[in-house]
């Protein structure tokens, strides 16, 4: 029997971990973009909010923030609902975990994106303005695609850390790969074996993503060929 009959459960857990990590990465990238744009915006309150967000989140351990946000979100929601005299509803644990992870890593993404936006040569923006592009057009056609190239290595690192952090969601009571390994290990008293199995799966994910990132980086770093001088 494959993995003492726990093969399918471990597979399901691994799939759940990948899903949570992927969705959290999407949330983080959106939050990171908003955060970076807010940090670079001319509006002072926006800058302040974004700075507070990135500084606070990055100085607190991810595990502490996960416990803090995950458990407080439901309580906060209940209180808000009560204040409006409405019936509160139960948050979906997976959605909350994704939101929490996304919120945490959004702060790291914001810093990376901010650095990447600032790395764009100023002349390109001036050229775009000179062509009469609107603010929105400059953002969509010049700043975002150019920024992505500079941000990619940093975002890749954040993804690797996020993937490993996703292993912590079992501490929130979700039935991910680590939780399955715990249960399977305790049931068969072969903890070592099952932990080594999930460690191998995590390692495989890490190696696969680093290969994929290398490919992406190569694709995004295509530059117009410079004339031979």
């Amino acid at each position: 029997m494959f993995l003492e009959g726990y093969g399918y459960l471990v597979f399901q857990g691994a799939w759940l971990t990948v899903q949570v990590a992927t969705w959290a990465a999407c949330v983080a990238i959106v939050l990171g973009l908003l955060g970076a744009l807010a940090k670079l915006s001319p509006v002072a309150p926006l800058r302040l909010v974004a700075t507070v967000y990135t500084t606070l989140v990055r100085s607190v351990p991810d595990l502490v923030l996960m416990l803090l946000i995950y458990y407080s979100a439901q309580i906060g929601l209940n209180q808000v609902a009560e204040a409006f005299g409405r019936e509160s509803w139960q948050l979906n644990p997976y959605g909350t975990a994704i939101g929490t992870l996304g919120f945490i890593y959004g702060a790291y993404c914001a810093e990376t994106f901010r650095g990447a936006f600032q790395a764009i040569p100023f002349g390109q923006l001036e050229a775009a303005r000179a062509y009469g592009m609107s603010h929105w057009q400059v953002l969509r056609r010049i700043r975002l695609p150019q920024m992505m190239r500079f941000a990619l290595p940093g975002i890749g690192n954040i993804w690797q850390v996020l993937l490993k952090s996703a292993g912590l969601i079992s501490l929130l009571g979700l039935n991910d790969m680590v939780q399955v390994a715990k249960q399977a290990g305790n049931a068969t008293s072969r903890q070592m074996f099952f932990y080594l199995v999930i460690a191998t799966i995590f390692l495989a994910f890490a190696i696969l993503s680093s290969l994929a990132l290398k490919h992406l980086e190569r694709r995004y770093s295509i530059e117009p060929r410079r004339s031979v001088s």
Partner: protein, 233 residues
């Protein structure tokens, strides 16, 4: 909030008389694992960069495995996995070591940070200015003098900015200790949460403590950088 601080402040910050406080346990975990990790990483980084292929390959494999898997899983392997092996259970000295959550957490943290530190140091070694090595050779230094007097001090100085980040990450990683029943800041916060049901305040205090620790570390490293990297300005 105030009541929580009044009642549980001693558990967070200083001792309540018969147990170490959360803050001191977290600091102890941070210092021991960072010191062990750095001490092991210095020779291993040299081996990884200058050693022959058969010595460098195992080091590379070690950093790959320990940087590619979550610290939480590494801790589970060391804390629960090893304890389930009869080999460990039947040997008194091994069992004494792996029975204690504190030992396991320090071992896991040290192994983990050592892997990251090796990569930091190796990266810095690769960018040693040629001039430093040439000057040492021109002065007639032997190979061991070159390593001890030039390469290692230069490596440690120039690694400081990256290493300060790594120490902050170790501080953040110590929070995992509470899963192995080690009474660090987060464990106290979880206890407070269980006792008062004030989740936000309990974990919020822990978050503030970690934040001030991180800020203090950043300050210390900034001072150290100003002194040790003064020649770069």
């Amino acid at each position: 909030m105030i009541e929580i601080l009044k009642e549980f402040g001693p558990n967070f910050l200083w001792s309540d008389g018969y147990r170490w406080s959360g803050l001191s346990v977290t600091l102890w975990l941070l210092v021991t694992s960072a010191v062990i990790g750095l001490a092991a990483a210095i020779p291993l980084a040299l081996v990884r960069t200058y050693g022959n292929r058969w010595l460098a390959l195992p080091v590379q494999l070690y950093t790959l495995v320990f940087r590619g898997t979550p610290l939480f899983v590494q801790l589970l392997i060391i804390y629960s996995g090893l304890a389930s092996l009869s080999l460990v259970r039947e040997s008194p000295s091994l069992w004494w070591f792996f029975r204690d959550g504190m030992h396991c957490v320090i071992l896991a943290l040290a192994l983990n940070t050592c892997a990251y530190t090796i990569e930091i140091l190796a990266g810095v070694l690769r960018t040693t200015p040629r001039g430093e090595i040439e000057a040492a050779l021109a002065l007639g230094m032997t190979r061991s003098q070159l390593f001890i007097l030039v390469l290692i001090p230069s490596m440690l100085r120039r690694a400081l900015p990256a290493y300060s980040n790594e120490v902050i990450f170790v501080l953040h990683a110590t929070a995992i200790a509470f899963t192995a029943t080690v009474p660090d800041i987060l464990k106290i916060a979880a206890d407070v949460n269980a006792a008062t049901f004030k989740t936000f305040q309990a974990y919020g205090i822990a978050a503030l403590l970690y934040m001030s620790l991180a800020c203090a570390l950043v300050g210390v490293f900034r001072l150290a950088e100003r002194r040790l990297l003064a020649y770069q300005r």
